[in-house]
Amino acid sequence: MSLQARYYKTVKDIPREDLFAPGHRLCAGCGAAIAVKLALKATRGPTVVVNATGCVEVSTSMFPYSAWGTPWVHVAFENAAAVASGIVEASRILARKRGGETYDVIALAGDGGTFDIGLQALSGALERGHKLLYICYDNEAYMNTGIQRSGATPTGAATTTSPAGRVIPGKRERKKNLVEIALAHNIPYAATASISHPLDYMNKVRKALEKDGPTLIHVFSPCTLGWRYPPSKTIQLARLAVETRYFPIYEVEDGRLRINVRVSRPKPLEEFLKLQRRFQHLLKPENKHILESLKRQVEENWSRLLKLEEAGVRP
C-alpha cells in the first residue's frame, strides 16, 4: 500500500483539537461521524461547513445543541453546493470591498444529497468554479429516512425501496460514478477515500482545500443500521471494501489519476458482503448471477482505473 502522506504522515500528526464535538446523536459505529471528525481535523484554518439535510445534519444540530466548532449552515437537502457557492463568493467580495479575511468552505452531503437530489446544484457549483471542497459521505442509500435506495446503492443491495423480494432480489441498477461525474467539470482535484484509511483521507481533504477551485472527495462511510451489521465492524467493513477492490481509493489531480491504495491480491468480494445483511440474499445459489454481475463490475472498474493511471489521461 502506498500512502501519499504529505501533511499527516502518522497518527501522531493528527491534531488533538476536535471541531466536531462529541455528544451528537449519530449512531454508535456511524461511519459518517468518523468521516466528518477526520475532515475537520484536516482543515487548514478558518472553515465554514455547509451541510445538506441528512443524518449528519439532523443528528448534530438539534436546537439548542450543536456539535459544530465551525460556523455551520444548513438550508435544505439539495442545495448544499449552491449555499456554499454563495458563502464563498460573499466572503471573497466582502474581503475585496471591506477588507478582512476569507475562509475555507466545505459542503458536506450524503449520497442521496449528492448523487441524486443535489446533483444539479453540485454540477452548477463545479462548473462555476467556486473555491470550495465538496465532501460526499457515501453510505449507499437514504439512511436518514430509513434505508431507501439511492443512485449510490450498489447492484443487488437490499433497501426498503429495493427489497430482496422473491421476484426482484434487491436493486437492479448500477451505482453512479460520482468522481467521474465531478471530473467531467474539469475540476482540479477529485478523490475517493475511506474512513479505514484516515491519513490518506485527511491528506486528501487538506490537499483539496489548498486547490484554487472546486474539489470533491467521495468518502466511503459504512452505516450500521442501513447495512445491518454490528457497530463494532464499521472500520473493518470500510477496510474490506478497499481490500476487495469494491471501493478503490484513488485521486485525480490536475487530470492525472493515481491509485492511492494498490490492492494487488484482492480478498474475495464475499468477505465484504457476508458481514452485511443487505447482501445476504446474494450469497444464496439462486442469486448467484447477481453476485457474479457485481463481481464483474468491481473487476471492470479496477482494471479501468489501472489503465487510466497508466495512460495518464483524464478519466
Partner: protein
C-alpha cells in the same frame, strides 16, 4: 424641512430601473437565472459588473432553486444580496423562500410578475407572487416604473434593518412595467449611501465566532421560531414609516403602505395591485368630474398586510370592488379579495364586496374595462349590493 437631493430625470424600462437601483445600492452578490420578463434586470447587472461600474459577484446559477440558495448563503455571510425572477422561477424557488425568511437572511428579489404554466404563458398576472404570499417575505408592489426604482432602494433598507432582517420582494407587472419605458427621477449616486449605508448584518458568518445556522428544531421549540418570524413582520409597518420618511428626505417622494386616489368622501372604492392602479386612477379622475363618487386604492405593501390602514380607509364607504390578478382555485375568490373580506369582517365593517378576477395570463385591462369596473362599484354602492360575489372579467364562456 425636507431636503430634496438634486435629482436626475431620465426614462427607463421597469427592469432597467430596478437594475439601476440595485447598482446604486452597491450590492455585493447577485445570483439569478434567466427568465422572461425579468431577464433584462440581470443582463443590465451583469453589464455593470463586466464594465466595472458595480463591484459585485454576479453569479448565473444553473436554476432558480440554486440562485435563491446562493442568495441565502451570501446573505448569511454578510453580503448585500439581490436576485430576480418570475413565474416558474419563483415556483422553483418556493422551498427556499421559507428558509430565507425564517433563517432571517435579508435580500431583495424583483419579481416581474408573470402567469404560471399550464398553458405556458409569459405575460403578466400575480399568480407567481401569490403562491409566495405565506412564505414570511415582505411583498411590495410597484404601480409604475418610478415606484419599481424607489421600492427597490427602500426594500434593501427595510429588509436589512436590525429589527426586521427579512427578505423583501419588489413586484413589477411583467411587460406592463418590466418592459415599458417610463420617465422617472433617479437619485444621484452619492446620495444613495446616505439613505442606504452598507449592510451591517449582526449575525454574519464569522469563523472567530462559530454559530449554527439552520438548526433542527423539534416540536418543543419549532413554534417559537415561527412566532419570531411573525413578530418580525409585525414590526414592519413602524420601520416602514421611518424608511419612507428617510427616503422622502432624499427623493421628495412619499410612500405609505396603501396608496389611494379620491377615497375620502367616496361611496365606492376599487382596490387593485400593481399597474392597474394607474389605469383605474386615470379613469376615476374623469368619472369624478362627471360626479361619480368612486375612489381607487392600491397596496404598496401586501405582506405584512396593512389591515389597520385598509380598515380605516374602507370603513366609511358603501361598497368595495377588489381586483385580483390571481385566483385561489376551489376557494372563495382571489387572494386580495379574501384578505379584504377578512379585514372588513374583523373590523366590523359590513359592506358589499365584489371580486373582479381579471388579466390572467396578460389579458389586457383597458381604460374601457376600468370605466366599467368603476361604474359597477358606484352602482353597487348605490344599490347596496352586487348581483354576484366573483366576476371573471371579460372571459368567453
Amino acid at each position: 424641512m425636507a431636503r430634496v437631493a438634486q435629482v436626475r430625470k431620465t426614462a427607463m424600462m421597469g427592469d432597467e430601473a430596478v437594475a439601476y437601483a440595485v447598482k446604486q445600492a452597491d450590492v455585493d452578490v447577485v445570483a439569478a437565472y434567466p427568465i422572461t420578463p425579468q431577464t433584462i434586470i440581470v443582463e443590465r447587472l451583469s453589464e455593470y459588473v463586466a464594465d466595472g461600474e458595480l463591484n459585485a459577484s454576479f453569479i448565473q446559477a444553473e436554476s432558480e432553486h440554486s440562485a435563491i440558495s446562493i442568495c441565502v448563503g451570501a446573505s448569511l455571510a454578510g453580503a448585500r444580496v439581490f436576485t430576480s425572477t418570475a413565474s416558474q422561477g419563483l415556483a422553483l424557488m418556493h422551498e427556499i423562500l421559507h428558509a430565507a425568511s425564517s433563517m432571517r437572511a435579508p435580500m431583495v428579489m424583483a419579481i416581474a410578475n408573470r402567469a404560471l404554466n399550464s398553458p405556458l404563458n409569459i405575460h403578466c398576472d400575480h399568480s407567481d407572487v401569490m403562491n409566495a404570499r405565506d412564505t414570511g417575505w415582505i411583498h411590495l408592489f410597484a404601480t409604475d416604473v418610478q415606484e419599481a426604482y424607489d421600492l427597490t432602494l427602500m426594500a434593501f433598507r427595510l429588509g436589512e434593518d436590525r429589527r426586521i432582517l427579512l427578505p423583501v420582494s419588489v413586484n413589477l407587472d411583467g411587460f406592463i412595467l418590466s418592459h415599458s419605458v417610463e420617465p422617472l427621477e433617479v437619485l444621484p449616486d452619492h446620495e444613495v449611501p446616505e439613505f442606504l449605508p452598507p449592510k451591517d448584518y449582526p449575525y454574519a458568518i464569522d469563523p472567530s465566532r462559530p454559530a449554527t445556522y439552520g438548526a433542527m428544531a423539534l416540536p418543543d421549540t419549532y413554534m417559537e421560531f415561527r412566532l419570531q418570524l411573525h413578530e418580525a413582520l409585525q414590526k414592519v409597518p413602524s420601520v416602514w414609516g421611518e424608511v419612507s420618511r428617510s427616503f422622502e428626505e432624499v427623493s421628495g417622494r412619499r410612500y405609505s403602505m396603501v396608496k389611494s386616489f379620491a377615497v375620502d368622501g367616496s361611496d365606492a372604492v376599487v382596490v387593485a395591485l400593481g399597474s392597474t392602479y394607474g389605469t383605474l386612477k386615470h379613469v376615476a379622475r374623469r368619472l369624478r368630474d362627471e360626479g361619480l363618487r368612486v375612489g381607487v386604492a392600491s397596496l404598496t405593501m401586501y405582506r405584512p398586510f396593512p389591515e389597520d390602514v385598509l380598515a380605516r380607509m374602507l370603513g366609511d364607504v358603501k361598497a368595495v370592488v377588489v381586483m385580483d390578478r390571481a385566483y385561489s382555485y376551489g376557494g372563495l375568490g382571489g387572494p386580495l379579495y379574501t384578505d379584504i373580506l377578512s379585514t372588513l369582517y374583523r373590523n366590523g365593517v359590513e359592506i358589499p364586496v365584489l371580486n373582479v378576477v381579471y388579466g390572467l395570463g396578460g389579458r389586457d385591462f383597458t381604460v374601457r374595462d376600468a370605466e366599467e369596473v368603476l361604474r359597477m362599484a358606484a352602482e353597487g354602492a348605490e344599490r347596496g349590493g352586487f348581483p354576484e360575489k366573483v366576476v371573471w372579467w371579460g372571459v368567453r364562456r
